[in-house]
Amino acid sequence: MSDLLGSVRLAWSVVVRNWVVYRKDFIANISPTLADPALMLTALGMGLSPFISSIHGLSYSQYLAPGMAATTVLFTAFFECSYGFYVRMTFESVFKAMLTTPIGTGEVVLGEFIWVSIRAALMAGGVGIVLELLSLLPNPWAVFLFPLIGAMLAIPCGAIGLLASSYVRNINQFQTVYSFIIAPLYFISGTFFPLNDRPVLGALVQVSPFFHGVSLLQMAAWNQFSPERIAYHLSVMLSYALILGLWSLARIRKKLIN
């Protein structure tokens, strides 16, 4: 038990380390994750809304809104755990020194997950507030659920980033991961258009961990709760979190320990 507490304390110190470095360049670090959804909402929401009558009784901007929070979570978690982690691991040799202290590989990975979860929760909450102010959330209470769902969704998205970090042979290969994994998740997970009436795509997308997070955020935003759907999406998303999380831990351990 004291070992477990010790691990959590050490993992938290990894979080503190990331925060101390992150805040040094706060504006540069935080702006892309905020700019992307804002641009998307402007271009697609404002730009396309007049041409689209309504989707399930929602304006197109309202339809897009929860997907923007999901997108922020995806990008925050994936980029932090891919480029960010990879740079720390290779160019900055951060872990070479860190692993000489009581911190082990388990705490390094746990710390990364806590770190991206907190960031994702804050970002999803931030986007939620903006959406609320723009009156794009039919369920105003969703703003409190966004951080919670964001924190959970960040784990599978971050794990994909860590797995990528463990497999790429150089930093340029992240582009391939982005193009073939992240971009498809982003574009075809119900974020931009509904999948209900598309049987093939609708079935395929069930394997996307991102889709389940998007669905939960949409349910929250649109006030369309059903216990079965919550249970389904939540359990699949958390299963992905667990499986991808443990897989990435095994991969990163192999990478950090010779």
Binding site: S13, V20, D25, A97, L99, P102, N258
Partner: protein, 308 residues
């Protein structure tokens, strides 16, 4: 018999083997480091020194053999070990964006240091870095970064200090400062394990040195013992082109070898070398007592010569 935790043996390695695929980096290496000793690991690049050091705190997983640090197995209880050691790795791996103090505060947190402020200030003062406490790491010179890496390793007041090539690439002033710190650290009864390519450094710091080659221990003993055993006597260094003139005056028991562009003669007494100068009419560039470098080259270097 494996030593129990808290034993007087800091490091106890029995037939430790490490393979990286086909390559055997450590080959059944057995060695012990007693508490309170300063032990040097010497050997050519690729001899297995850093691999062995990595095994001690679990950043390298040994393939076979038994290893205990303070009685704990690094493969299973690395944290117990890491709470009691301080490491100066080959690379400083400091966070370049942070200031000196920010960086040390983080590491004090990692190591669970009590009263970190006082401890950091104390060590910065000790390493003459107090005036740099608010400076960004990237603005420090190489010597300052290295000193700061020592501060980092000493934060938790470790029982065992592991130094992996601590003074490589540093100017003589910094090197002397660091040697002085290591010696004073030893005086308070702490244990030091150091790898180095500088034989002078090993002679100065170490009670005992272990010479590795291809992952195998080829010699062990105090620097003095090793010199007496392997390369006793005095070395005269001559210009290479005087080799033929000198040769006819040499005693068959003396050891002669080329070192770069210099021809070296090792004789039991300095008088022999003086007599050699008189007889041949060739003046030595230098005459000196044999040192650890001669031992090292004899045990590891000549082989390189043969292969080249």
């Amino acid at each position: 018999m494996i030593s129990k935790p808290n034993s007087t043996v800091a490091v106890d390695a029995r037939k430790v083997t490490k393979r990286f695929g086909e390559l055997v980096a450590l080959n059944e290496l057995s060695l012990a480091v007693d508490s309170g000793q300063c032990v040097g690991l010497l050997g050519p690049n690729g001899a297995g020194k850093s691999t062995f050091i990595g095994c001690l705190y679990g950043s390298v997983e040994r393939s076979e053999g038994d290893l205990r640090v303070f009685g704990f197995d690094p493969a299973r209880e690395a944290r117990r070990i890491k709470e009691r050691i301080g490491v100066v790795p080959q690379e400083n791996a400091l966070d370049e964006e942070l200031t000196v103090r920010e960086n040390m505060r983080l590491y004090a947190r990692f190591q669970g240091v009590k009263d970190p402020f006082r401890r950091i200030e104390e060590l910065l003062e000790h390493m003459s870095l107090s005036h740099k406490r608010h400076a960004q790491i990237r603005s420090l010179s190489g010597g300052m970064k290295r000193r700061l890496t020592f501060v980092r390793a000493l934060l938790s007041d470790p029982e065992l200090l592991i130094l992996d090539e601590p003074t490589t690439g540093l100017d003589p002033t910094v090197r002397h400062l660091l040697w002085d710190k290591v010696l004073s650290y030893r005086q308070v009864g702490k244990t030091v394990l150091v790898t180095t390519h500088y034989m002078h450094e090993a002679e100065l710091l170490c009670d005992r040195v272990i010479i590795l080659n291809h992952g195998v221990q080829v010699a062990v003993g105090s620097p003095k013992e090793l010199i007496e055993k392997e390369t006793p006597g005095f070395v005269g260094i001559f210009e290479a082109d005087q080799k033929s003139t000198l040769k006819i005056h040499l005693d068959s028991n003396w050891h002669c070898f080329m070192q770069g562009r210099q021809y070296c003669v090792r004789a039991p007494q300095i008088e022999h070398l003086i007599a050699l100068q008189a007889a041949s009419g060739v003046m030595a560039i230098q005459m000196r007592p044999a040192n650890l470098e001669d031992v090292y080259l004899k045990l590891t270097g000549e082989e390189l010569g043969e292969n080249e």
